[in-house]
């Protein structure tokens, strides 16, 4: 059964890769995307997928950070799963972005060279794609060091990841401290990433910086619902029932329904004809089937998620709830993004249509399958992480000065580089809308942020001086 499932996922990846190759050869004409105003949508399934995966991933990472900040031992496993889900989700969103771009290779060169902070995309490729991914990998590597140390004899790679780990009271104390502070520091990054994505993908086509009343909030809340549902399923599959997660899921799903309905009512009552056209298209027009399906799915999912916090709830039940929530959130993202392009334009262009092509569905299926495989692989390979725990009693730490200095230097230099990189990228003190003062300054900004993310690594890895007077040499793991 397990082999068949993995074989199916691999087949989906192959189909997706073939479809993407077709797109690379023939251009985006193989998709059903068309020109805005000429009867179509220029952002479609790929961008919806990007928004969905990135928001679910960031929501999972937020949950992981909250659990670790609260030093909740009973939810330590859920935090580890959330980190893995976040990693897989961010990779899936990157896959969707690459599939969507007209010139992905040019993007890899031009974004680091000429990235402009005035564009909301700057935040998505630096904070969301770059730093969040890097920070998650670092966080995961640090959290699982004790587990890697136990496997250190089996492979050099594990020994490398676990480098320097000692099973001492002082090391455990330091581990807990790092875990707490890293989680606390990453929390605003992940929340900020969610808001940036909400600004980018909650955009109303043709309305510069005009977001709907609730669109950013709905994006964040529904993204959190998707993240929580995936997390609830993953924890349930590992034979755990996380009641707080299930409760949060029910609350978030209900809140999303409320926000979607309120947004629709406000859009119907607005004085702008184009906004009313969009609202009518949802209510009883071209997109009404999807809109009503979304509401029904959210409603059923809210009720079903209430049942998932029972200890007797089966994995199938949890999987059904997750499927309902994720489908509803996906439709919600689709309608916000696509229906505005087809029915919400300010000028009287003809209404558009968009039905994703087979190539688009295949690429998306391939991306999803690849993300699931990455997640399964990580859960198989990664040892259980240590949750931050209250500081154990023991001798006072020694040799802290060097460690603190290096950590502080990483933070300060990183902050300075990020600030300088941002200022150079933004072209401060120059005319607006021009190139960065220094080509490649977005890289300086990114490097600065990466350095800041590496600060806890320095804090954790720099060894302590041997404690004089305590006389006990810490037992080295192999």
């Amino acid at each position: 059964m397990k082999r068949a499932a993995i074989g199916f996922l691999l087949a989906l990846v192959a189909v997706g890769a073939y479809a993407w190759a077709q797109q690379c050869i023939h251009g985006d004409a193989v998709t059903d995307l068309r020109t805005i105003g000429a009867g179509g949508a220029v952002w479609g399934l790929y961008v919806v997928g990007d928004g969905f995966f990135a928001s679910a991933a960031l929501a999972s990472l937020v949950v992981a950070c909250v659990i670790r900040v609260r030093r909740s031992r009973e939810m330590g496993n859920a935090a580890q799963i959330a980190l893995l889900l976040g990693l897989a989700g961010l990779l899936a969103s990157l896959g969707c972005v690459l599939a969507d771009l007209g010139r992905p290779m040019a993007a890899m060169v031009n974004l680091p060279l000429f990235g402009r902070p005035r564009s909301p995309f700057f935040g998505t490729f630096t904070l969301v794609a770059g730093v969040s991914l890097f920070a998650t990998v670092v966080h995961l590597a640090l959290a699982t060091r004790p587990g890697w140390a136990e496997r250190a004899q089996t492979a050099w790679l594990w020994r490398l990841v676990a480098c320097g780990w000692q099973q001492t009271a002082s090391a455990t104390r330091r581990r807990g401290r790092v875990d707490f502070w890293v989680s606390l520091a990453l929390l605003p990054l992940f929340l900020g990433g969610l808001v940036i994505l909400g600004v980018v993908f909650g955009v109303r086509a043709g309305r510069p910086a005009w977001q709907g009343e609730f669109e950013v909030v709905t994006f964040v809340v529904s993204g959190c619902a998707a993240g929580c549902s995936l997390l609830a399923l993953a924890t349930r599959a590992s034979r755990q029932v996380s009641v707080p997660l299930a409760r949060a899921l029910a609350g978030l799903t209900g809140l999303t329904v409320l926000l979607v309905v309120s947004g629709e009512i406000l859009a119907l009552r607005t004085p702008y004809p184009s906004v009313q056209r969009y609202a009518r298209a949802l209510l009883d027009g071209a997109w009404s089937n999807l809109f009503w399906a979304e509401l029904v799915l959210f409603f059923v999912a809210a009720i079903s998620s209430l049942a998932t916090w029972r200890k007797t709830a089966s994995v199938v039940w949890a999987a059904t709830t997750t499927l309902l929530v994720c489908t509803a959130v996906f439709i919600e993202r689709f309608l916000v993004l696509v229906a505005w392009q087809t029915h919400g334009l300010g000028l009287p262009w003809p209404a558009g249509v968009y039905h994703p092509s087979g190539v688009e569905w295949s690429v998306l299926a391939g991306v999803v399958a690849a993300a699931v495989l990455v997640f399964l692989l990580l859960t198989k390979v990664c040892p259980a992480g240590t949750a931050a725990s209250p500081e154990p009693a023991g001798p006072a730490p020694t040799g802290r000065r060097l460690r603190l200095l290096v950590t502080a230097a990483c933070l300060i230099l990183g902050l300075a580089a990020a600030g300088v990189g941002l200022a150079l990228s933004a072209g401060l003190a120059s005319a607006p809308f021009l190139d960065p003062i220094l080509s490649g300054s977005p890289l300086i900004f990114l490097a600065g942020l990466f350095l800041m993310v590496l600060a806890p690594v320095a804090y954790e890895l720099i060894p302590e001086r041997k404690a004089r007077g305590h006389g006990v040499s810490p037992p080295h793991l192999p």
Partner: protein, 273 residues
Amino acid sequence: MKRGPLDDDVRDSRRKLLAGLAASAAGALAGCTRAMAAQSTAPVAATSGSRRRWGLVIDLDRCARCGGCVVACQQENNVAPAGSDAAARMRPIHWMDFLPAAPGSSSATPIPCMHCEDPPCVKVCPVGATYKTEEGITAQIWERCIGCRYCMVACPYARRYFNWSEPRWPGDVSSLNPDVAPRPRGVVEKCTLCHHRIRAALERARVDEEPLTDETLRRLPACAQSCPTLAITFGDLADPESEVARLAASPRAVRLLPEAGTRPKVIYLRETK
């Protein structure tokens, strides 16, 4: 509260730590300042000293809706004609197109890029592939475009086009206009107000040491030149003596979607008939 020797030690170590941090920060800042100073050869920000504001006025009373401007624009700017399949799939590229019915008009309205004073497409471009020139033209660097299409989503007028497939022209490529670079697949393109013609006219005036007159400018872009009823007038909106500025001050002058706050430099004279 009385301090013990341990507190003093802690205070000393903290002082040393802070001194170390300050030294590191100062070093970093000094390094960055030097790096910035060394970049004297970096692209210099263009000054906004130019007073020219190129713009178009389209008189809807005069416009015969013949489509001559659309064809002339395609020819001048090497816009690849859409194949029958692409046209059926609603992927044509028309830098100048007809809007079914705009405010102030009862019939189709010719609509190029609005060359907004505050262009949303420029704000959202992540790589600076689209930018505003000193003279107010919203221009595009094809080579830099990454094909994210954010500018198309942001444009309130839907005046940007994506090359969904490799452009193909009928016959020999030698028939293309050598002054305009053809755009590859995967990039967004748009009206440039025939920027190449403006540059050429400016250069000619400089070489001949004669001022660039309003008469020379009025029919400079291909759409204005080809218009049989002289409905399209081009010129410097900042020059109060120019024909285009005079028309723009007419009580019939309207702009599209003023509520978007983009301040377009393409102005329509609404129909009176």
